[in-house]
Structures are given as C-alpha cells and as structure tokens.
C-alpha cells in the first residue's frame, strides 16, 4: 500500500442553495454593478433606465478594475443596500 500526501487545500465545498428568485420586483432595490469591462457601463446604464421607468429603485456600483475581485467594502455596501444585483460579466 502506498500512502500519498494530499496536495490540495483539503476543503470540503459547502453547497449553499441559491436564494429564491423574487416573485416580482415591486418595492425591491436593484443594484447594478459595472465590473469595468469595455462598454459594460453603456449597457448597464440603459438597463438602469428601463428599470427606473418601471418605478423600481436602482443603485449603481462600479468595480475599480475587472481584473480583480470586488473590494470587500464594496461587496458589503452592495449587500447592505440592495435586494438584487445585476452584474455585467463580459464585454
């Protein structure tokens, strides 16, 4: 029998169920996160306008660069201020 040492971080992934999707958007605040990909701001701005036309509260956020994960304070701010987030993942 051979004994090998585990080269991984030995983590057991936690499977967390997704939050249920809301039935409707009435009364909810939607966060729009621009991750700083080219023209993402154009698309997301228009999306924000369309949501606002429907009377939905919208807040805009932006990552400083798409090359890094969002800074912790930004993630905490978004989590505290909105019910849903729309994020543009690519250009």
């Amino acid at each position: 029998m051979t004994v090998l040492l585990d080269p991984t971080s030995e983590r057991s992934p936690t499977i967390r169920p997704r939050l249920p999707r809301p039935e409707h958007l009435d009364g909810l605040t939607i966060g729009i996160l621009d991750i700083a990909k080219p023209r993402g701001d154009v698309f997301l701005h228009r999306l924000g306008e369309r949501l606002a036309e429907r009377g939905i509260a919208v807040r805009h956020y932006a990552k400083p660069t798409n090359t890094r994960v969002a800074p912790l304070p930004l993630r905490q701010q978004i989590a505290a201020e909105v019910d849903l987030v729309v994020e543009g993942l690519s250009d």
């Binding site: 051979t2 004994v3 090998l4 040492l5 585990d6 080269p7 971080s9 030995e10 983590r11 090359t67």
Partner: protein, 480 residues
C-alpha cells in the same frame, strides 16, 4: 524495537562497515568484561565477534531513538538518564565515560567515526515516518495495493494532464529539506479558493511536478511572487485571454541547479526549467483550486500553462540581468514573474547594425495582440545571443535599447482608429491626429537567452490588462 535500553551502564552503537568501529572492537571487549555494557549493531548482528552478546539494531529503531549521528557512539546512562556521550574513538573521552584508564594503549589518541546508518538519506525519512515525527499535516491518502497510484492521482484531479511523481511522505520530507523555512509557514492565499499556501503543501506539489529539493527555494519565490496583490493571480487565472505566469530566473541559483539559459531555453529538455514552472501551475491548480473550464476561463490558453520557466543567460550578456535592473543586488538569486503567453518569433537574419535590428524588433512588437491595439499589453522581449552581439558591438546598453524601442513603438493614432485599414478592430475616433505608444512606460522587459547560433529572438506577449489596473511583473529574491 531491539530491546529496552539499560537504565544504568554504557551503551555503544556500532556498525561493521566502519573502520573505527572495527578498530575499537577490542576496547568494547574490555568494557564488556567489566560489565554493564550493551552494544547495538546497525548492520551485522555478528559484529563485534569479540562480544558474547550484541543487540541487533538493523531496524535502526534504537539508533534513531538515541539520535545517533556517528558510529561508534558511546553513551553513559544513570537512573535511566543519559549523562554523557562521545562519538568516534577518543581515548580520553572513552576513559572518562567508562572510568577505566589505559584503554587502547596501542591505538591512536583520536580517530573520527563514520556516519551512522540511521541518518543516511532515505533512511532518516523512513524512520521519522515510522516514529510519526514528520510534523507533516497533510491528509494521508492510502492507495490500495491493487490500485495504480498514477491512475489514482489522475482520478483525484491532481494532474495537469501529464503523469505526476507520487507525493509520498518520504519524498515530501526530502523536498522540504530544500528549505530551512517552517513547513507550516503560509506564503499567501492562493486564488481562486484563497486557500493558504503552506510550504508543506507547496512541497507536495513540487514533488508531483518532478522538482528536486534544491529547486524548492525557486518554487517558493515564484509562488510568493504570483501571490503579490499587484500580480493579480486571480485575474490572470480567470481571464479568457491566453496568459499564465512566466518565470524568469536570475542569479547564481541558475547554475547551482543546472537551469538552461542557452539553446532551447524556452523549450523542453531541462528538468529544473520544466519542473519549477510546472510546480507553480500545480500549486494554483491543487491548493488554489484553479482549473480550466472552471475558474480558469481561458479561450485557448497556451502551452506555457503546463510550465513556463527559464533562466537568463547572464554570462553571455553585456547587459545587466533582469533582476538587477529591477532592484536586486548583483550576485543574488531572484525570480521575476510575468503574466505572459506563447512566443512570437522575431526572425531577422540581415540586420547588422542596431538601428535596423531595433526597427525590426519594434515592428514585431507593434503587432502583439493586434496591430490596431495601442496602448496594448506589456511584453517580455527575449533577445538571442546573435542579436545581442549586434547591440553589444555597437555599444548599445540595455537602457539604450529600451529607449529606442519605446520611441519606435510610437504609432500614429490615425492607423489605430476602429475601421481604418479595413479592420473593424481599433480604438475611438478621438485617436486620430494623436500619437499613441504601443506600451505603457515600463511595459517592456528585456532578457537575454538562447543558443549561440540563430538570429531568432522572441516576444512573450502579456495580458491586455497590464499595468497597475491589471497585472504587474513581480521580482522576488530567493530566501537563502
């Protein structure tokens, strides 16, 4: 275990394969006649024949417990406690420990002993494992005797696609001898899982990659470098672009561990080059959990994502080495990591003056990513010896070449506007009438490597997100 140690009296540990032990055997006979002597023999249970009783310690358990390093070793116990020890033959010491004067009058005063079997390479590791003294914290995975260990490693997802060296406890222990650092020291958090990179876990991956222990300090420096915030390893991994970490090694370590900086420096065939770059990739894969088609979103990737590590040819260059240029003292070893991909060749067999050759270089450099793209990515320019000679003979320093290349990489904005030259790619109309440089200031790095023959330099292109908002090259000195 080869019997309990006596609470009182003398203990000697010997082996036949040691001329000093053979020479001192008659003295052990004298001590045995006085009583209170126990002799443990490491290799041949019939040695020394002069004694009626010997204890067979071919398992080396007692030798290990007594931490014997040299044979013969003579130890005095009193009430179960060691109160004195000497090793080799030293008449004064043997007399002091035994309380008998006039020992071995016909022998020299002093004669050094031999290395004990229990500390031989390979043996010591096995003893530490048997006595559970390794201090290794990684989970032990038992591979059944009917299981193929190579297939078992593939099945667990540890491999980059090629076979791995099985990371047994012995191999990992030997690997960790390559550094004086604490195996539980954490060098940083490896993305994407942000899992701690302990020296032990890096050592396990270095074994699998095929590293020798003497490569470990280079691997550690490379891991530390890519985990610097400015390198943005998470982004380098996650991007759809081609890049992965490229490791350039400078300083005396290159020759000490036999790295290749000459012919085929960026190719296959050198164990150190290959294994160091591979170890870094396996660390990202196994500790960080960064795997293709998962968080690694590369569209094509590049073959360098198996391994991409080479040494600079400093001896053949009139230029200061890359690490020195980046602040490391001459004579020190360091790695520089760069988020790069592939190799774009520059073939110039006709230029005989630096002006022509630098224009050739610039022409190729301006094509990286897309001729319509500027400012574009950073780039690592690998200048081959025959091209270097042209600059050297004309008295061009590396600083001069940088200066000329930046100047030659100025591009009229009119050529870069989207849609011009029949190509939809390009920048905004506002570029028209302006001049744009292909590179940000500091976005070019030059190293010297390659074989003596051939006017073939190379460009390692970078990530479009170069510079402070993307990935910056990082230079790390090796810890001694």
């Amino acid at each position: 275990m080869a019997g309990d140690l006596p609470r009182d009296g003398l203990v000697a540990v010997v082996k036949r394969d040691c001329p000093t032990c053979v020479m001192a055997a008659p003295i052990l006979g004298v001590l045995a006649r006085q009583g209170g002597l126990t002799v443990y023999t490491q290799d041949d249970p019939s040695f020394p024949e002069i004694l009626a009783d010997r204890v067979d310690d071919r398992t080396l358990d007692v030798s290990h417990q007594l931490r014997i390093e040299v044979v013969p070793t003579l130890i005095r116990f009193e009430g179960g406690r060691e109160i004195g020890r000497t090793y080799g033959w030293d008449r004064g010491e043997w007399e002091r420990l035994s309380g008998i004067v006039g020992l071995g009058a016909d022998l020299p005063e002093v004669r050094p002993g031999c290395g004990a079997k229990n500390v031989e390479p390979g043996v010591l590791e096995r003893l530490k494992i048997r006595f559970n003294e390794t201090g290794l914290k990684s989970r032990r995975i038992e591979i059944g005797s009917d299981e193929d260990e190579h297939e078992a490693m593939f099945a667990r997802g540890w491999s980059d696609g090629l076979p791995l060296v099985p990371p047994t406890e012995e191999r990992v222990l030997r690997m960790l001898d390559g550094t004086a650092r604490d195996p539980q020291e954490v060098l940083g958090l490896v993305p994407p899982d942000l899992a701690p990179a302990t020296i032990e876990k890096i050592g396990v991956n270095a074994v699998m990659a095929g590293c020798k222990p003497e490569y470990l300090s280079v691997v550690l420096a490379a891991v530390e470098a890519v985990l610097e915030e400015e390198f943005a390893m998470h982004g380098v991994l996650a991007t759809t672009m081609f890049v992965g970490p490229v490791v350039v090694v400078n300083g005396p370590v290159r020759r000490r561990i036999g790295m290749n900086s000459n012919g085929n420096a960026l190719g296959q065939g050198n164990r150190a080059n290959a294994a160091i770059g591979r170890a870094l990739q396996l660390v990202i894969r196994n500790i960080g959990g960064g795997r293709p088609q998962e968080v690694d979103r590369a569209t094509l990737g590049n073959p360098g994502k198996y391994t991409y590590c080479f040494a600079e040819d400093e001896e053949g260059s009139s230029w200061e080495p890359l690490a020195v240029e980046r602040g490391v003292q001459p004579g020190r070893s360091a790695v520089t990591v760069f988020a790069g991909f592939g190799l774009q060749g520059i073939v110039d067999q006709k230029s005989r003056d630096p002006e022509s050759l630098s224009r050739s270089f610039a022409g190729s450099l301006k094509a990286i990513h897309n001729v319509k793209s500027a400012p574009s990515c950073d780039a690592l320019l690998v200048v081959c010896p025959e091209h270097h000679r042209t600059f050297k003979d004309a008295g061009w320093t590396k600083a001069r070449l940088y200066e000329e290349l930046y100047r030659l990489c100025e591009i009229p904005g009119d050529e870069l506007v989207a849609g011009t030259q029949g190509m939809a790619e390009g920048g905004p109309p506002s570029l028209a009438g302006k001049t744009v440089n292909k590179f940000r200031p500091g976005g070019l790095m030059i190293v010297h490597a390659g074989g003596d023959a051939g006017m073939f330099s190379g460009i390692i292109g970078g990530w479009s997100a170069g510079g402070p908002r993307g990935s910056l090259p990082i230079t790390k000195e090796l810890e001694s």
